[in-house]
């Protein structure tokens, strides 16, 4: 609903509306990114290469950020339990390789194999979150952590045999990073790729995101989607109007988990490696701060927030190392990233925008 109204506005009205709804921290971040872009030619960085990097990384990460939307909309808060969905994706990825699929096919098989895990884990996760309304975010964080550390044991114990994945010497236990060369590395990014000099656009990757984003947007305009938004903005009212709030929350959690599973697979195809063990541990935080930077609050998020937020966040992550390092000769990019992303989450948590729970 939110996305629709903002899209219907005129360009000028939209900019004004954005400034109003953005709030100061978002404006500062956007201004900072603009400064980085302006400064980049002066410090000898090729702006087209930079832009290509930002767009590439946007494509990798956007779906993970999109996974926040359903849960935020249904009133479950920010999905700090993203690692749960990521684990489903990782199970899909590793099983797809284990079963011997290669090339582009392995990507779609991975999605297909990840889906049942996402549905099962999402159902359990949704059931848990329905029992603890009001304390979702803290518990979601720890559900994610427990799941990741539990899977650390499983990655060792599960009987994987594909020689590309297991440790060479012992022949069992998965490696910490698995190369996707020959599997689905760059499969979306190289599809319909446009290349002009040093500037290239991974059309396939962006198209994939667009399809999913459109699907989510369309979903929120169906009857179920509207009911879900209602359950999020005012559960008591929604209940009075005959909406099954618990069911809506459950559906949203399953959607979020499934989108996270797809999201990590898309991330992997861009990155070229499957990272397991402790890698998914802190993956929720960048996604959470990205959607908040995009203008979402703890209980309201739209597709537009996802797009703006991912672009701004990934822009800062990619631009700071090159530009800042050339200016002050110090690698402060990591620190800037930590402060910006967590500062943004703090800002959102301290707003008094939370609806009645």
């Amino acid at each position: 609903m939110n996305a629709k109204t903002s899209e219907e506005k005129t360009a000028g009205g939209r900019i004004q509306g954005l400034i109003k709804s953005f709030g100061l921290p978002r404006l500062i971040i956007a201004g900072f990114l603009l400064l980085l872009f302006i400064a980049s030619p002066f410090v000898g960085a090729n702006i087209f290469t930079q832009l290509t990097n930002v767009i590439n990384r946007f494509g990798w990460n956007a779906i993970l950020v999109l996974a926040m939307v359903p849960m935020v909309q249904s009133g479950c808060g920010l999905n700090f339990g993203l690692p749960l969905g990521i684990i489903s994706g990782l199970l899909g990825a590793t099983l797809s390789i284990e079963f011997g699929f290669t090339g582009g096919l392995s990507f779609f098989v991975a999605i297909a194999l990840a889906t049942p895990f996402a549905l099962i884990l999402g159902t359990g996760y949704g059931w848990l979150l329905n029992k603890i309304k009001g304390g979702e975010m803290m518990i979601a964080t720890y559900v994610g952590f427990s799941a990741v550390s539990f899977m650390c044991m499983m990655w060792i114990l599960l009987p994987y045999h594909a020689p590309n994945m297991v440790w060479g010497l012992s022949g069992k236990g998965l490696r910490t990073t698995i190369s996707l060369e020959g599997y689905y590395a760059q499969v979306l990014s190289n599809f319909l790729k446009i290349k002009i000099g040093s500037f290239s656009i991974p059309v396939g990757n962006l198209l994939f995101f667009a399809v999913l984003a459109l699907a989510v947007w369309a979903f929120f305009h169906t009857k179920t989607g509207t009911a879900m938004t209602a359950a999020g903005s005012n559960p008591t009212f929604a209940k009075a109007a005959g909406v099954n709030v618990d069911k809506m929350r459950m559906i949203s959690v399953i959607m979020s988990t499934w989108l996270a599973a797809i999201g990590i697979l898309v991330y992997e195809q861009g990155f070229g490696f499957v990272q397991i063990y402790m890698a998914p541990f802190y993956m929720a935080l960048p996604a959470v701060s990205a959607i908040l930077i995009g203008g979402a609050s703890v209980n309201k998020a739209s597709i537009l927030n996802v797009i703006i937020g991912t672009f701004l966040f990934q822009g800062i992550v990619t631009m700071t190392p090159t530009v800042m390092n050339s200016i002050i000769h110090m690698d402060v990019s990591e620190v800037v990233r930590i402060i910006v992303s967590n500062g943004m989450i703090l800002y959102a948590l301290t707003r008094k925008t939370e609806g009645s729970k």
Partner: protein, 378 residues
């Protein structure tokens, strides 16, 4: 009163009550009971390890009690105090002050930093009432960024650091590990007693004991009573004339300052300071230990701290080698203990939230019955 009646009860009754009240500790006692024989460690070794680790860690866990009393849940922001303590230690290492004076000076340096960070944390938490835990958790990440900015970039050019032994070769920033060999276990070794190979760090235990006595006394002071009132119900406390915001900030500041002291004690026992990683897990481990001791989000006592620190560390010592013996892979045990730490926090938080919700819905139903209206149902 409750305590009084329990002490008068027969042992059997006490045991039964203990079992039903403390599902988490019981589970851990069982885990440890299974793991200890399998791991093959001698009792003497285990006892020695437990003693060392108790001395190291108890003070840090105790600092969590005050925010729980003030109803602010588990203070993940204790990491802030830990960082303040580390900054104190970095300065002391730079000034080459050895032994006990170094430890004391590090604690003194940490106090103003802890107070500033504590006030910041308290103010932010006052803006996020009802979700203190997740907010304090994110604050710890945020301040970690600031800490890195200060320690990695400002120490050297802005904050003078003399000794090249702790400075990075590039000229600014602190090395990944700062050696504190000159103050290693100086607190623990002073007045330590060794009984049959088991070293007891008496002075550290005395300090912990003094802190426990302080808590017992503090609960009875005006401020302590105010905190408990705020923890029970903020609105009622405010009506009673208590400055709720100020009380909450004080509770966080106290916790942060104590966490700073605790971190100095912790690090002097370790003997070296991992500059950028020492504080990253400390909040999680302390909270897990407290919860394993049978505490919950809204209730924790000194007893929980001691039971928790013993059980948690017992599990931590025996899990890796048990895992190796059973599965033949040394990493399994490592991951198992991490999983258990996170798992127990998840379970404890879930139990607390479901309980809170049950009470709330019962109150709602009561109201519904009273009003015969339907707007009160949850």
């Amino acid at each position: 009163m409750k305590n009084n009646t329990t002490t008068q009860m027969s042992f059997g009754k006490k045991l039964r009550r203990f079992l039903s009240d403390n599902p988490v500790p019981i589970m851990f006692i069982i885990i440890c009971a299974v793991c200890i024989p399998v791991s093959g460690f001698s009792p003497g070794y285990l006892l020695n390890e437990i003693m060392t680790r108790m001395g190291r860690n108890t003070f840090l866990i105790l600092c969590l009690l005050i925010p729980i009393m003030a109803g602010m849940g588990l203070n993940f922001g204790m990491t802030l105090g830990a960082m303040a303590g580390e900054i104190g230690l970095i300065f002391v290492a730079d000034w080459q002050i050895y032994g006990i004076p170094g430890v004391v000076l590090a604690m003194i340096i940490s106090i103003p930093i802890s107070i500033v960070l504590g006030i910041f944390c308290g103010k932010v938490l006052n803006m996020a009432k009802g979700r203190e835990m997740i907010t304090s958790y994110i604050i710890s990440f945020f301040i970690n960024g600031v800490y890195q900015l200060v320690v990695l970039y400002m120490m050297g050019p802005i904050i003078p650091i003399k000794h090249s032994s702790i400075r990075l070769p590039r000229g600014y920033g602190i090395r990944n590990t700062v050696s504190l060999l000159n103050m290693r276990q100086c607190l623990d070794n002073l007045m330590s007693i060794t009984i049959k190979g088991v070293k007891i760090p008496v002075l550290t235990f005395i300090i912990v004991g003094v802190l426990c006595l302080f808590f017992v006394w503090f609960k009875k002071t005006k401020l302590g009573q105010d905190m408990r009132a705020v923890g029970q119900d903020m609105e009622v406390a405010r009506d009673a004339g208590i400055n709720v915001e100020r009380t909450r900030i004080i509770s966080i500041v106290m916790s942060t300052v104590l966490a700073g002291f605790g971190m100095v004690i912790y690090i002097q026992n370790m003997g070296n300071l991992p500059t950028y990683t020492a504080h990253s897990q400390i909040g999680m481990f302390c909270i897990a230990a407290l919860l394993i001791g049978g505490a919950s989000v809204d209730h924790a006592s000194i007893k929980n701290v001691f039971l928790g620190v013993i059980l948690f560390h017992l599990m931590f010592i025996v899990a890796p080698s048990t895992g190796t013996k059973i599965t033949g892979d040394s990493m399994i045990g490592e991951y198992f203990r991490v999983f258990v730490s996170y798992g127990v926090i998840t379970v404890a938080l879930t139990m607390y939230e479901t309980k809170k919700r049950r009470i709330k819905s019962r109150a709602g139903q009561q109201l519904k019955a009273d009003q015969k209206g339907d707007e009160a149902d949850e």
